[in-house]
Subunit: 334 residues, 2 copies
């Protein structure tokens, strides 16, 4: 299978890395040979239909910051759409930066790939949170596959889990801690008794929170995931503007202490059901599956027969997120 | 698909119940029509190749305690092997009581079904903990399927999860809380400060612990599940006698308090890796996915790419366990 990777940041590099680690093993195990025929970044692209060397891609990016410096096959200033026109590929791995206003340019990349009868794997929340119905319809119309496990919770395999492991059950609702940064901040506030502002500042210094933390702390990132879960698992037809969102920036140390005294923690919880789409701070019981700390993500499926089943995993990380993308590539092949 | 249910205790009745609830829905969703053609209990059996009525099976069992009283098709004193000889079925649902000495009579039922070229779904830990290799080999030799999701953790879908949702990853080890009764006892000891003996007694009165609690509190039940996980997920070839087992009956309130003061809980943990097979009380950190209370079961997969992923679910319950059996039946059909 020939893949084209658009975007070569943390996730794109992770994909190259896991392919370099696992290519032979996957060939042995599944009979699937994954060949990277194109990679792009803001400098341009590297394109070679015989296949690019994952290790060399990583080395060039590390040394020069520009994938277009790839020897022989590097092309400066090639746009992503030109890459899709020039490259020989079966599956697009769309991992360009997320935009939650209009989902572009990722949305155009995905739709172009579908029109060219290519499958798509993405970790990009933007187009799925803004235009899920259009994208899913285009995939159906073109008879191709779309997979996006990495877009919700990184290495927490909630979508495959919900779709594949409980065929006897109806999933009635989903509750989750869908953002690692806010979980980290709230967990440390509960443990250390420090203020929101203090812990946010330290999280930014550690690189866990971004310089502009709004999308995380105001709940927008979690809301995007709520939209994806609602569309994918509960077959709703919703977009980001349908979600009621309250972030964590108003949570005081007093509220956390009060909760703690009664055996509760405050977590930023996303909820999806047939009539609810919400992200808000809520009390969760100590000893419940939601009481996990650090940057972990959690999602609980409420089902008709199996009661509640929960999956927990790392919500971020280059290799971890790339593992979800690689699983999607293997699933498309299978 | 015609199914034969051997054993009509909590799990067998649960299977009849979920089939009566979901038969039409499963027909619509998967094109699978599940027909119960035989059911046995210690009184005999009910056998009808056109299909028995799940609701009537449950009513007769409730009223008389004897499935052989089923109108027209009830047969007193029919042995399970005779049921398998007489019944017209595609898939055996083996849910007779668990025996961990030699796995019988369930083992013989399963092997007979395989030899008759029938698929098998079971929740029965006994034969899998004692004779996994023989059973798996017989399934392969006869070209039939064996599924046993319900044998580990009831409605916690750890086997399907490990086999289906992480195709890019190697699973290197598994750690789990695999017994709900001991988790319940240890959780209440930590919360209430009471002694092991006191909480065990109350758990027995509530029906959470059995009158003879040895298999739970001495770790044997968890050890059976460790064996199944090791064989199924890590492709080891082990049996119950290979597991090092320490139970919870020597855990003192003092040990629990000491741990709690440092932010830890004591849980009965099963561990499976390429060189470890163990059940023992261990410290787990508050805030970790293992810090769940009540009768919940947990299993964490340590993987090469996705780091740790965890699944949590109800370890017991008639309907919950039956949901895992129904999922296995659907998976065999698919």
């Amino acid at each position: 299978m020939k893949i084209c990777i658009l975007g070569f940041g943390a996730v794109g590099k992770g994909v190259a890395k896991v392919i370099s680690m696992k290519r032979d093993e996957i060939k042995d195990k599944y009979g699937l040979d994954i060949i990277i025929t194109a990679v792009s970044d803001t400098s341009g692209a590297a394109v070679c239909e015989e296949g690019l060397d994952p290790a060399l891609l990583l080395e060039i990016k590390e040394k020069t910051g520009k994938i277009s410096k790839y020897p022989e096959y590097g092309v400066p200033n090639l746009s992503n759409i030109e890459v899709l026109n020039n490259a020989d590929y079966d599956c697009l791995v769309e991992v360009t930066p997320t935009d939650i206003e209009d989902g572009e340019p990722a949305k155009s990349h995905i739709l172009k790939a579908f029109n060219d009868k290519k499958d798509v794997v993405t970790s990009n929340k933007g187009p799925l949170a803004i235009s899920f119905a259009d994208i899913a319809q285009s995939a159906r119309k073109n008879g191709v596959q779309l997979r996006y496990e990495a877009s919700v919770g990184g290495a927490m395999p909630i979508l495959n889990f919900a779709h594949d492991t409980l065929p006897s059950c109806n999933i009635e609702s989903i509750l989750g801690i869908l953002n690692g940064t806010t979980n980290y901040i709230l967990s440390r506030m509960a443990k250390e008794g420090s203020s929101y502002e203090q812990i946010l500042k330290e999280s930014q210094e550690m690189g866990i929170a971004e310089t502009n933390p709004a999308q995380d702390v105001e709940g927008t990132d979690a809301a995007c995931k709520v939209v994806i879960l609602a569309n994918s698992i509960l077959k709703r037809n919703v977009t980001l503007k349908d979600v009621e969102v309250v972030g964590i920036s108003k949570i005081t140390q007093e509220a956390i202490s009060l909760a703690k005294n009664e055996g509760y923690l405050i977590k930023l919880i996303g909820e999806v059901s047939s009539d609810t789409l919400e992200v808000s701070p809520r009390l969760v019981r100590e000893g419940s599956p939601f009481a996990v700390d650090g940057t972990l993500n959690v999602a609980t499926l409420k089902t008709d027969l199996a009661d509640e089943v929960t999956v927990v995993g790392k919500g971020a990380g280059s290799i971890e997120t790339a593992s979800a993308i690689l699983s999607d590539i293997i699933s498309i092949y299978k």
